[in-house]
Amino acid sequence: MHFKITKPYIVIFLFIPGCWFIGQGLYIESKAIVAQQLLEHAWKNVKAGDTRSKPWPWADTWPIARLTVPRLNIDLIVLAGDSGRTLAFGPGHNFASSTPGKKGNSLISAHRDTHFNFLQYLQPGDNIFIETAQSENTIYKVTSSKIVNMDNARFIDDQSSSYVHLVTCYPFDSIIPGGSQRFIVSARAQSKLGYTHLHKPFIKKSLENANFIKSILNHKVAF
């Protein structure tokens, strides 16, 4: 049996596929980075009031929140939905979960090798800031992290407070994608800070109302 390794063979079987794989890998990584830049623009629109601003015309998602972790210098735009396509561009918010900043469980997922690689460095007590289109920053404090199986993760349905769960694949250093374990960092909204912050406009408004009523009363008295 004669098999001769010749230059064309090497080029065809090794160099071209090699380059292709590297290209694929770099494409995924760069998509993750470039998309966040594009999203920045869409996020500005969202904050300006266009809540369904699409980052690019054919996108099936839109930014819904900004997630920052000052200690680790993390600043990410969170997208609506957590389908595979969305996660390539940024962390995705699960539609079935509650909106960040609102009561209940909010689920945000991202790839362990791109956006959510930092999850492994979060410590209990770390602050996570989440800003949504409707509200200013809500401060979440990391309470715990857990490793779960992707099929039977359940979250206690506590509607008295706001929780955010950051989900990514586990283990972090595994090269093969598609494992069944998930790493979940749970954080709870800081009630005091979040509360006063959220209710400031309300207090202001009710004061305005009070003044308004007062002026009417005065008016009537004047009559």
Binding site: T6, Q24, G25, S83, A96, H111, N152, I176
Partner: protein
């Protein structure tokens, strides 16, 4: 034999002829490059081996993290913070006794839970527990030694204030609040060191009756699992993800949740003060005693997950657990089937409270139509979501479901397929009969579907619902989507306004469909919601949905009173009926009801039934049943745009009259005499966040998404290939024909 063809390397020797003094220089450059290449080759090989190893190792990876988590494990129970930081104590639930009494359709349950404060300080304890979704909680008692304190129903805020006041004054108090229809919290104040308290809760629920079977479920994870000392055993329980037990995961409440606590408020399990224990196996034991008084001869009676002992005494069957007590690790479910000829077609239970008469009416429409009557001709519009978010597995599931659906069509049925993403497209301009060719065309159309673009749901819904009313067909819309939309209320509006005679059935597809949207859409569409989370489930779930859709349904059900009475009936709008489902109504009237008649449309022909309601026997709990139905209906009306404040006052009104816990009312029990000296501090218990209490208390978002890209794998593989290629190329370059070298040297 492997020959290395050096033909293309011959250029160098050729150069040799030009420069006469050529000699392959074994210079430093060549020696080093050779070494480097060999090293690179070895590294590449190593990387590839690692890759293979990783593949092979992937399956056993779990064992590794189990060991890491081992000593950081926490136990699922209530914890008290002690004065020393980092040290926690548990409040064990010593014993839970459940007594249930089934009469007719009503189950009355009482739960006695015995708490014990094993710490040496006064504590306040709080814990969350699940109850059946339709549970009406109406009594709370705390028993301290010989004394008994009865709870009162109060408006939520007022109850809270009463409780806080008692707490400050050092009185014993308990507060039961509803967090969700199926989730309650119980807070206890001022438990003395070493003291044990019994909290007694009573609730009522209605039996589930479908396809001739009655079933009763008690969520056993009501009591936080408390497991002393033996951590390794508990550890295996908590982390067991064995796929062979996957089916059990549904029922075994939280030992199978797969939660492994990584870092938790409890920093070190070894520091938890071990509480007094009664025995290694009798941890948080639950005893169940059930009195079954069905009034019907039974064909079958069994418990799904526990061994039981049955004792017949006249009309009553006494049922208890075979082992006396059981650890509360799985729900208790009892199922019984009356003998076929005695299967209840209709039942009336009534109760008189003050001047009001309450009736509970259960009626099963005869299901003979499925066999001898003309099967109902249906016109079905399938809507399939082909937006980008459906890409991948979701699309596969949706396609499979749709293909299955087509196979179930009968010749006289009509159908059409509508797909939508940024644009809406339909297969036929009008619905076509389900002929062989049409189905073939449809299957080709389905196979060609691709998921991309946005999610513009409104036009598709309008297209499907806006059908000219054809009275010969029952129009059903089957809607497959992951529901990734933001404009939910606008869509509900469209469904509400365009529904007409059509019925909308939603099928949730994918890892995390927006089930709120789909459940509500189905409610507005007067259909039902089915959730398919896995490709393996497609067959099962679709089959049960279709057998339901195909069986003759009864529409336009109305109730007529043949006498002059003032009535209040819940639910207000009667839903359509499918085979095997009963109508259950709660009626309140100012006079005893004599006779009522029900009318409806079944298989295009009118149907009616007359019921004689005159009955002497009165049953307990019908008033409560009526009140619970009213509260549920009022809560739902908020979604239909009812005034929230009005609903709140209405609910408070009903709940106070019937002594029920609701979203706006709580039960509070306060001791008259203070027991804690006011100058002694009160420690607040704390519950770890995400404490596993049982599946009913949980929200599951289905399968979590895939969160690893193949970037690293691609890069690694690419580099490996390049390295290999480079190494080979250079090696070949060096492998000069042997005769050349010998000649030269």
């Amino acid at each position: 034999m492997l020959f290395i063809n050096t033909h293309f390397l011959k250029r160098r020797p050729r150069r040799e002829y030009l420069h006469d003094n050529y000699r392959p220089r074994k210079s430093h450059f060549f020696i080093w490059s050779k070494r480097i290449i060999i090293t690179l080759l070895l590294i590449t090989l190593g990387l590839l081996l690692m890759l293979l190893g990783n593949l092979a190792y992937g399956g056993t990876r779990t064992t590794e993290f189990q060991n890491i988590e081992f000593n950081k494990l926490s136990q699922g129970s209530m914890l008290i913070k002690t004065n020393t930081s980092g040290i926690y104590q548990q409040v064990p639930l010593r014993q839970t006794d459940v007594d249930m009494h089934v009469t007719g359709m009503i189950v009355r349950s009482s739960i006695k839970q015995q708490f014990e404060n094993t710490s040496d300080s006064w504590i306040e304890a709080e814990y969350v527990f699940p109850l059946p979704e339709n549970a009406a909680v109406d009594h709370l008692r705390i028993r301290i030694g010989e004394r008994l304190i009865e709870g009162r129903i109060k408006e939520k805020l007022e109850a809270k204030r009463t409780y806080e006041k008692a707490k400050r004054e050092g009185r014993k108090a308990a507060l039961v609040e509803q967090q969700h229809p199926n989730l309650f919290t119980n807070t206890l104040a001022n438990i003395a060191p070493g003291e044990s308290i019994i909290v007694e809760l009573e609730y009522q629920q209605v039996l589930h009756y479908e396809q001739g079977n009655f079933s009763l479920r008690f969520p056993m994870a009501i009591t936080p699992r408390y497991i002393p000392g033996n951590i390794p055993q508990q550890f295996t329980l908590l982390s067991s993800n064995d796929t062979s037990e996957k089916d059990m995961a549904e029922t075994i409440s939280f030992s199978q949740t797969g939660w492994v606590h990584h870092t938790n408020p409890v920093q070190d399990a070894a520091q938890i003060t071990p509480p007094v224990q009664s025995g290694p196996n009798k941890v948080n034991p639950v005893s169940i005693n059930l009195k079954l008084n069905t009034g019907l001869p039974l064909e079958k009676l069994f418990s799904r997950y526990h061994n039981i002992v049955k004792q017949q005494a006249n009309d009553v069957i006494n049922i208890s657990l075979a082992n006396g007590v059981t650890p509360s690790d799985r729900d208790f479910e009892l199922v019984w089937t009356p003998q076929v000829k005695h299967a209840p077609k209709a039942a009336v239970f009534s109760e008189k409270i003050n001047h009001d008469y309450f009736q509970m009416l259960m009626l099963t429409p005869p299901n003979d139509g499925a066999h001898n009557g003309q099967p109902l001709a249906r016109e079905i519009s399938y809507i399939i979501d082909t937006s980008g978010s459906m890409h991948g597995v979701s699309m596969t599931q949706a396609k499979q479901s749709l293909l299955m659906a087509l196979d179930r069509l009968r010749l006289h049925d009509k159908f059409n397929i509508i797909q939508f993403n940024s644009i809406t497209d339909q297969l036929f301009s009008h619905s076509q009969i389900a002929s062989f060719e049409n189905i073939l065309i449809a299957k080709q159309y389905i196979n060609r579907l691709k998921a991309e673009g946005g999610t513009e749901m409104a036009p598709a819904l309008k297209l499907a619902l806006n059908k000219p009313a054809d009275t010969h067909y029952v129009h059903q819309v089957i809607f497959l989507t992951d529901g990734s939309v933001g404009n939910e209320s606008a869509l509900f509006d469209i469904i509400h306004k365009n529904l007409g005679k059509s019925r909308l059935f939603t099928i949730g597809i994918g890892s995390a469909p927006n089930s709120y949207f789909m459940r509500k859409a189905a409610q507005f569409g007067r259909g039902s919601f089915t959730y398919i989370s896995d490709v393996n489930e497609v067959n099962n779930k679709m089959t049960s949905l279709f057998s339901k859709l195909e069986s003759p349904l009864m529409t336009d059900i109305k109730l007529h009173f043949n006498q002059n009475v003032v009535t209040e009936i819940w639910p207000e709008r009667l839903p359509d009926l499918y085979n095997g489902e009963p109508v259950i109504l709660a009626i309140k009237s100012d006079k005893p009801l004599q006779e009522i008649s029900l009318t409806g449309t079944r298989a295009l022909s009118p149907w009616s039934a007359k019921l004689n309601l005159k009955t002497d026997n009165t049953s307990k709990g019908i008033g409560i049943f009526w009140a619970r139905k009213k509260i549920a209906a009022l809560m739902d009306s908020i979604h239909d745009g009812a005034n929230k404040e009005k609903v709140r006052t209405d609910i408070i009104d009903v709940a106070l009259t019937h002594h029920l816990v609701s979203k706006y009312t709580s039960l509070v029990a306060v001791d008259k005499t203070p027991s804690r000296p006011v100058d002694t501090g009160l420690d607040k218990t704390r519950m770890p966040v995400n404490l596993p209490y049982g599946q009913n208390a949980y929200k599951s978002f289905g399968r979590l998404p895939q969160t690893a890209s193949s970037a690293e794998l691609n890069l690694l593989f690419g580099f490996s290939l390049l390295m290999l290629g480079l190494a080979l190329a250079v090696l070949l370059r060096q492998a000069v024909p042997p005769q050349d070298t010998t000649e030269q040297s």
